[in-house]
Symmetry: C2
Subunit: 154 residues, 2 copies
DNA sequence: ACAGTAATTGAAAATGGTTATCAATATCAA
DNA sequence: TTGATATTGATAACCATTTTCAATTACTGT
């Protein structure tokens, strides 16, 4: 009888091993940042992540968080978005899956969507203009159901 | 016999009268900025417009160009976009017509497109998530036909 | 385990696009 | 023309992000 132990690697572990596989050094700071980033959910700004990491790693430097986020982004392990709130937000990239965003301008809530039909039309439009598409950004701004009920800032 | 003289008001004139109609004062600087903006074509950055205006109005201040662009934007007379080149770009708004953009990352060329089908799907997606859409941004990045042939920056 | 070397770190300064401040000047209604 | 108010230009401030640099740390080979 074979005991099948499934070793499910977490996002944090995948990212960490991917980094060391690319020749980057493993450091306590980097590990903390990646682990907390993976656990915290999506669309974090550098500042937000810095605040979270500081709890586990009080001496962490601001620059280190920025540097790590940029490193992840340039390595393709994270994806950055600039919505309309003034700073860059990051999310770990689920391999191969692209998605776009609906953003509530009332509470900041972000919903993700994928639509194959839109992507197809998009390709057709690009082709008509003889463009080779490398990436795109499709953001829908509005109010979520709960913010539609609340009074808006005057 | 009636001689029909068609008084076609230019974009610049429409914007200027719209501003004074809203109670803003008419100034030489504002007039120059609007006139040159209207004549220069689309998607200008504040810096680019400043450089153009300086030729006609050598004493113009940087802040005045920024202020006027913001004024136009807040009055709905201009529309601002933040593409991925780091600064805000403006274009005079053709009343009522929305469009999105295809941007060449090689040469900066910007092509505009409208697609009713995409807008419809977008609304359906928002409705499914109980969102009230206020605006959206759809940008396609890639290489134009001419930049596909040229060697890329390494 | 140890040394050598190159990468990484944290603090602080720098950067760069944009906005605020403020005294001087210009606009416009009365 | 006058006077209240808006606008201007120079400059400083703002603020997210990047750079700098000396000190520390991680890895490679021994
Ligand atoms: Mn997302
Ligand atoms: Mn446009
Ligand atoms: Zn909301
Ligand atoms: Zn091009």
């Amino acid at each position: 009888m074979v005991i099948n132990i499934k070793l499910k690697s977490t996002s944090a572990e995948r990212v960490a091993s991917s980094l060391s596989g690319r020749g980057f050094k493993t450091t306590r700071q980097r590990d903390s940042i990646v682990r907390i980033f993976a656990a915290a959910g999506q669309h974090l700004s550098a500042e937000e992540l810095y605040e979270l990491v500081k709890k586990a790693e009080p001496g962490i430097g601001y620059a280190t968080v920025y540097r790590t986020l940029r490193l992840l982004s340039e390595s393709g392990l994270a994806h950055e978005s600039r919505f309309e709130d003034g700073f860059t937000r990051y999310e770990l990239s689920d391999s191969g899956s692209h998605h776009d965003h609906i953003i509530c301008t009332g509470c900041g809530q972000i919903i993700e969507f994928e639509n194959h039909e839109i992507e197809k039309i998009q390709q057709a439009i690009a082709r008509k203009h003889h463009f080779l598409v490398t990436n795109h950004k499709h953001e829908i701004y509005g109010l979520c159901s709960s913010c539609q009920r609340k009074p808006q800032k005057e």
